[in-house]
Amino acid sequence: MEFLAPAAFWIAAGVVPALVILYFLKLRRREETVPSTLLWKKAVQDLQVNAPFQKLRRNLLLLLQLLVLLAGVFALARPIVRTETSREKSLILLIDNSASMNTREARPGGGVETRLAAAKEQALRLLKTVNRTGSSWFRFGGAPQQTRVMVISFADRARVVSPGFTTNTAELEELIRGIEPSDAATTLKEAIELADAYMAQTTVEVTPETSERASRLVLFSDGGIGDLSDLTLRNGTMEIVRLGETQDNVGITALRTQRNYERPEVLEAFVELRNYAPEPVTTDVSLFVDGALADAPVRTVALDAATPVTDGSASAAPGVAAASQPEAARDPDGAAPAQRWRPSAASLSFELELARAAVLEVRLAREDALPTDNRGWAIIPPPRKLSVLLVSKGNYFVESILNTDALPLQTVKYLTPEQYEAAAEGDLAAGGRSLFDVVIIDGHSTGRLYRGNYLFLNAIPQVEGVAIEGEIEGHNLIWWDETHPVLRYVSLEFVYIAKGLRLSLPAEAQTLIDGPAGPVLARYSRDGRQFMVLGFDVAKSNWVLKRGFPTFLYNAVRHLGAGDADVEQARLKPGEALRIPLPPGVAKAKLIRPDGGETPLTADEAGLAYFGGTRHAGVYRVEPGAEGQDRYAVNLEDDNESNIAPRGGLRIGAQTIAEGEAIRTATPEIWRWFVGAALAIVLLEWYIYNRRVMI
């Protein structure tokens, strides 16, 4: 308990002894004659009441009067129920509204509320303890300095909810109530940086008073913060009000779909589930296509219980969870004693015939605390055979690969470089967009580039920043990005290149293969065009003789043909921006969010629209949209967010964040209770005095 006006106790120091002295003064005895003191003496001896303090002890009325007095003084002292008052100069409330904060928790008084609602409630209660003295009618000394409060909500990015620092707590209450949940991941860094920036602003006016009262940051979160170890807190102190109890959650942590290469009408879906609850669970997994139950069996999956791990062993232990443990868990000294849980995982794969574009949805039948990750969506493009244009003077190796049945190609058109340059625009493009899914240009650097996807072999696109600086003879490859889909299953160890180009590329180009003289294979996007540049003639290397080359060509054609939107789509997460190509000639469109709301979109000159408000998981639809690119699935797929077990012992750098106490009562000021108690005691005293129960 704290007191807003502790000076009231000086009153007590004066009044309480006065009352006791009054009782002592009362001891001047009246003389009374009795026929015999015989029995009185005996009675007095029996009771031994004459000692002054024994007398006081027995004197109920004095006791009650003292109680009344003390209750009055306590009421004047304006007690509040809280371990500490906000006496700092500035208070920053950081409210986590990430996906895990949507976890439904049993409320102490019954009912269910999300962690975010609890966090908002706690923040409001804390807010009520701030600047209370300002409205006081009872104050000793001058007006105390007002505490300035700022509210920041953070998920994948931070947002300053309040208009900077403010002392108007009533206004803040509304703003805090207005914080909306999101399904995004948790990163605290941006919020801390924001807070730091605001605090730096305020400390410009350093006075002795302001400097001694540091800013206080109060974090309302469940502790599932991924990026704690990267953070430093430059000024102020931080404490966390940790929310949440439950860890009952089964989530979809991965959903991948892929059309069978040989049979494009067959869709393969891979689902990974994880159980974060400490009990084993079983759940039904079902597939929905465009909202209707798919023609695939509903699977029942049994998952083991999550196992507790300590921080030290978490990083060392092999298994699915170890790699995906949050950064904080890999704290090198492992001093934090917090219990972590390693989820159990299960993978499923489905195969179903789906010869059209659709939205595939995976649902878990089990109800758990966090519903967001019980559903996952994937946008299935229509089975599409690619049309490829090969511009070449004749390349046996490339042509023979394109002619096999391995690639599901619709059309392959062959042009010589001269024919390409001379061809009418209508033969190559429509509305500025290439008619072919992939254009392979072999040994011919050209500037005739419509919007589309290009694979340059031993040549470069004539765009700004790309140039050939010379030639290089006889070299091996030094490094390549094995994880890139284009180089998947491609072995480059023993590739020898007799003659290659020395490429100069812009900084934003993505190097996929490095040679001794710079990039050999690079990927570069610009103005709606996607280029992949291979800087040597395959005919003058031993690569064509290896299995890796057909695989590379196969991957490259598929990768380019699918378009980069496909790649981005595969891993859209809440909070990430959508890059939406609009159909040619459409300048304005609307985006329909999963909750049914609409957002207008405007295309830029490249025909692209951007949307940054993917706060919730689900399917976002563009209307009108380019064919095959009008729907976007945003999935949680975040191990850190799905792991809803509340985490303690958080550290920022080397500093452990103190855990603030949750505020339990909604009425922090309790002086009314003391006034009530004083009244009740007065009544009791009057009753006792009148009834002479004990005087």
């Binding site: 015999s36 009771l47 027995r58 129960v693």
Partner: protein, 305 residues
């Protein structure tokens, strides 16, 4: 315990102790003795002695010197034996009333001393009416006032005047008084002691002295309502009216409870003490009208008939 809550009437100091109507009622009564004592003068009571009354008592053999008038000639005619007829003797009864007139008795509403005097007057009157020898002793630390061996109704007014004039004074010393009384008062008979028995010296020794003559002993304890249920409150310095002893008390509920419990225990102890020694004990409060005490309670206890 006789604590009838009757309306308390405070008699004026000069009011006669007994009203004529009440005396008329008392005329019907007689003091009883559970034992038969030898008297000193002719009276209206059966005595231990054989004597000259008309009531036949016994025969005995004639011895030389016996009054020939008492020979039963009818027996002599039948049996030729000389037998003397014996008759009951009727003599007077010694009625002694010891009453406490120490300062502590002049206390309470109604006044304990006045109450005691009235009871004494009533008992004395009954005795006088029945030709008993009545002795009255008012005592405090000694036998301060006495009126010995009065007999006959015509002395009643003297007795009343004697009682009326007694003013309570001094402190009570029951044992010293009882010792003195036992030495001086040789006659047997009924002894009635009226007091509050709040004696710091105790009552046991005094009672022992009184019992030395083997009288028919009655103790009547008179307490005022203020003593039975004190109305004191606050922080007090209590002064003993007799010996100026001081007691500092703070009146509280537990203290009052303790006082009452002590009083009960004190009275109970006195009663038990009396019962064990064949003494009749009677407790009364001054709120009990004294006529009720005399006409009802004393009759019940068998002191008067």
């Amino acid at each position: 315990m006789a604590t009838t809550a009757a309306p308390v009437r405070t008699p004026a100091a000069d009011e006669p102790l007994l009203t004529p109507e009440f005396m008329a009622k008392l005329d019907q009564l007689d003091i009883l003795s559970r034992r038969i004592f030898a008297g000193r003068m002719k009276g209206e009571r059966r005595s231990k002695r054989k004597g000259e009354s008309v009531e036949f008592a016994d025969y005995r053999n004639y011895v030389v010197g016996d009054d020939l008038r008492f020979l039963d000639w009818n027996i002599y005619g039948r049996l030729e034996k000389l037998l003397v007829k014996l008759f009951m003797e009727e003599e007077d009864l010694n009625v002694t009333i010891l009453f406490d007139v120490s300062r502590s008795m002049k206390w309470g509403r109604p006044d304990k001393a006045l109450y005691v005097k009235r009871v004494a007057a009533a008992l004395a009157y009954i005795g006088l009416v029945n030709y008993d020898r009545v002795s009255l002793y008012g005592y405090s630390s000694a036998l301060a006032h006495e009126m010995r061996a009065v007999r006959g109704r015509r002395l009643a007014s003297q007795v009343m005047a004697f009682l009326q004039n007694i003013q309570p004074d001094g402190f009570s010393d029951f044992s010293a008084v009882a010792k003195r009384f036992a030495i001086r008062h040789t006659g047997k008979g009924v002894v009635v002691v009226l007091s509050d028995f709040m004696d710091k010296g105790g009552y046991a020794e005094g009672i022992r002295y009184l019992l030395g003559r083997n009288p028919d002993l009655y103790l009547i304890q008179v307490l005022s309502p203020e003593e039975i249920d004190p109305t004191l409150a606050g922080d007090l310095k209590l002064r003993d009216v007799e010996d100026d002893d001081l007691a500092e008390v703070t009146i509280s509920k537990p203290l009052l409870d303790r006082y009452k419990a002590n009083l009960q225990a004190y009275c109970g102890e006195l009663r038990d003490h009396c019962t064990r020694r064949g003494i009749t004990y009677l407790f009364t409060s001054t709120t009990v009208p004294f006529d009720t005490l005399v006409l009802a309670y004393l009759r019940q206890r068998g002191l008067i008939r």
